[in-house]
């Protein structure tokens, strides 16, 4: 009995590693495919970098023109931006292909995915190599390095773990939103703009301390569109500004958990929705 269980565990572990090997092979093939268009490859790489740098430039300009944003120092605001960009880099690396689900569904590719021996969700994630992720991640790491050199944080193992949890949580939160929106493509024709809605909202407003916003906007960006959980609340915890957020302290401390919770919910919703998938070919 124990021997049988042991064999089953070994089989599962082997299966797990085999699945990851396959993921890496497909990713390598996708990268090779994108490298065929070398001009496109280099431009996307440069643009990812330039795009995220422009966000930094803009925030720097705003911080210079309007110092003491909501009582936050420039370096503290930079921490919000750094956490958001790092989380966004992870999102682009892992979840970028979800943006293409309108096209994938329209082309009837989901029909093929359903009959292959790999989860449909994973196949969608592996649809295209996210070239822009390289530029995004590089810019995020550079900005993060700038932010931590200017911050006067007392670094402890707990702080480092919390920061890593915040970045992971922020990425999973964005991933959850993309997953939920991609479900719509199973039944309807939707445009990219729906995906870009939340992305733009985080990109535009997720870089500032929400304490500068009126109460209604703050509440909406915390409890309706959980933008605050991506970077603002974790940064408030790390910089000791929980009181200025207006949310209960336990919620601010637990903010990195919002992403994983929402992501699990989104994956469950995806799984349920896939059963009601209507093929583009009828």
């Amino acid at each position: 009995m124990a021997q049988g269980t042991g064999r089953q565990v070994v089989r599962q572990v082997r299966g797990f590693f085999a699945a990851w090997r396959l993921v890496l092979r497909i990713t390598a093939a996708n990268l090779g495919g994108r490298l065929q268009y070398r001009g496109d490859f280099l431009t996307v790489l440069a643009m990812g970098l330039a795009w995220q740098t422009s966000v930094f430039v803009f925030v720097a300009v705003i911080l210079t023109r309007f110092p003491g944003l909501g009582g936050w120092s420039a370096s503290d605001v930079l921490l919000i931006l750094a956490i958001r960009l790092l989380a966004h880099g992870v999102v682009v690396t892992v979840f970028n292909s979800l943006l293409l689900t309108p096209y994938i569904a329209q082309q009837g590719l989901i029909d093929f995915y359903l009959v292959r021996p790999m989860p449909v969700y994973r196949q969608v994630l592996l649809y295209q190599f996210p070239l822009n992720a390289m530029g995004d991640c590089f810019a995020a790491i550079v900005l993060f390095a700038v932010a931590i050199t200017r911050l006067r944080l007392h670094w402890t193992p707990a702080t480092v773990v919390y920061l890593a949890a915040a970045v992971t949580g922020g990425a999973l939160l964005e991933g959850a939103v993309l997953t939920m929106v991609s479900i719509l493509t199973f039944r309807r024709t939707i445009g990219m703009s729906v995906f870009m809605w939340f992305d733009r909202m985080i990109g535009t407003f997720g870089n500032y301390p929400f304490s500068i916003l009126p109460l209604a906007a703050r509440a909406a960006l915390t409890y309706v569109f959980p933008v605050a959980f991506v970077a603002y609340l974790p940064a408030a915890v790390l910089t000791g500004r929980i009181a200025s957020t207006g949310v209960p302290a336990w919620l601010a401390y637990a903010s990195p958990a919002a992403g994983p919770l929402l992501y699990v919910g989104a994956r469950y919703a995806w799984h349920r929705a896939l059963r009601r998938y209507e093929s583009g070919s009828g």
Partner: protein, 282 residues
């Protein structure tokens, strides 16, 4: 072909034959309006973007009266009109499989060269339809914002007139920029990177991300040599009164020069592109 359309060769028939292809301008509005559900996300998106932009700029100006020559009403109006421009200056054709890159990869671009309307004219007609549709929605949003007092009126009638004239030229330059991007597909098949590059440049250098007046002097000097700032920064600066209406002459001359340059360049590109249409590798 023209003879077949104009049996009598009379003026009304000629006019009708001239106007007949312009029915294609209705394609985008009809596509969008027959799928009313697709209107909801952009409407919700623009409403949240406008509300957040309004709150953000008012919050930034909480402790400052004038910055970069703009007071709170001017900066908010500029930023909100920038949101409207970004949202409505282009229409998402991607989910309809109607972008140039999709036409190239699917080979349907061949039909553009088999119709009794030249590909160049057909492109113009479709773009005019897109701009009219987006402009109509933008006008509704503008009037709503004006009605609730979120956006200020121009300081004078001459300023309003100058803003309107330069906006027309700005839209023409935007049209040519998109045309150049689409024509790139005839050489490179894909234009994702080029589109990202121009989106970045347009967003940052036109003032759509934030009023250009907030950026450092060197940045504004560089952008003055590029076409992007003429598309949005010029009309908006005239609208809010940051540029006097007396500056119309010089601004108009710059815009006219860019428009003429692009018109010549794209005319040449169309000739080269039409001579090298590649459909499915053949």
């Amino acid at each position: 072909m023209q003879e077949a359309i104009i049996p009598n060769g009379g003026v009304p028939s000629r006019l009708r034959a001239f106007l007949l292809p312009w029915r294609a301008a209705r394609i985008t509005p009809l596509t969008e309006l027959t799928q009313a559900a697709r209107l909801v996300p952009p409407a919700a998106m623009v409403a949240t973007q406008l509300a957040l932009t309004y709150w953000l700029w008012h919050a930034l100006y909480a402790g400052v009266r004038v910055s970069a020559g703009l007071d709170v009403a001017q900066a908010t109006t500029y930023a909100m009109l920038g949101v409207l421009y970004q949202q409505f200056s282009t229409v998402d054709r991607w989910s309809n499989g109607d972008t140039m890159v999709q036409l190239m990869t699917e080979g349907t671009i061949a039909f553009w060269f088999l119709r009794p309307v030249s590909a160049r004219r057909y492109y113009l007609i479709r773009a005019v339809g897109d701009i009219a549709y987006g402009g109509g929605l933008a006008l509704v949003a503008y009037l709503a914002c004006l009605g609730i007092g979120a956006i200020a009126l121009p300081p004078s009638w001459p300023a309003a007139g100058a803003a309107l004239i330069t906006l027309v030229f700005g839209l023409a330059i935007t049209y040519y920029l998109h045309l150049v991007l689409d024509l790139i597909c005839f050489w490179s098949t894909v234009n994702d990177a080029a589109i990202t590059a121009v989106q970045f440049a347009t967003g940052l250098l036109s003032g759509a991300f934030a009023p250009l007046w907030f950026f450092p002097g060197w940045f504004r000097h560089v952008s003055a040599f590029l076409p992007f700032q003429t598309t949005l920064n010029v009309p908006l600066s005239l609208y809010v009164g940051r540029l006097p209406a007396s500056a119309l002459g010089i601004q108009l001359a710059v815009q006219a020069a860019w428009t003429a340059g692009f018109a010549l360049f794209t005319w040449w590109l169309w000739r080269r592109a039409a001579a090298r249409v590649t459909v499915l590798g053949g």
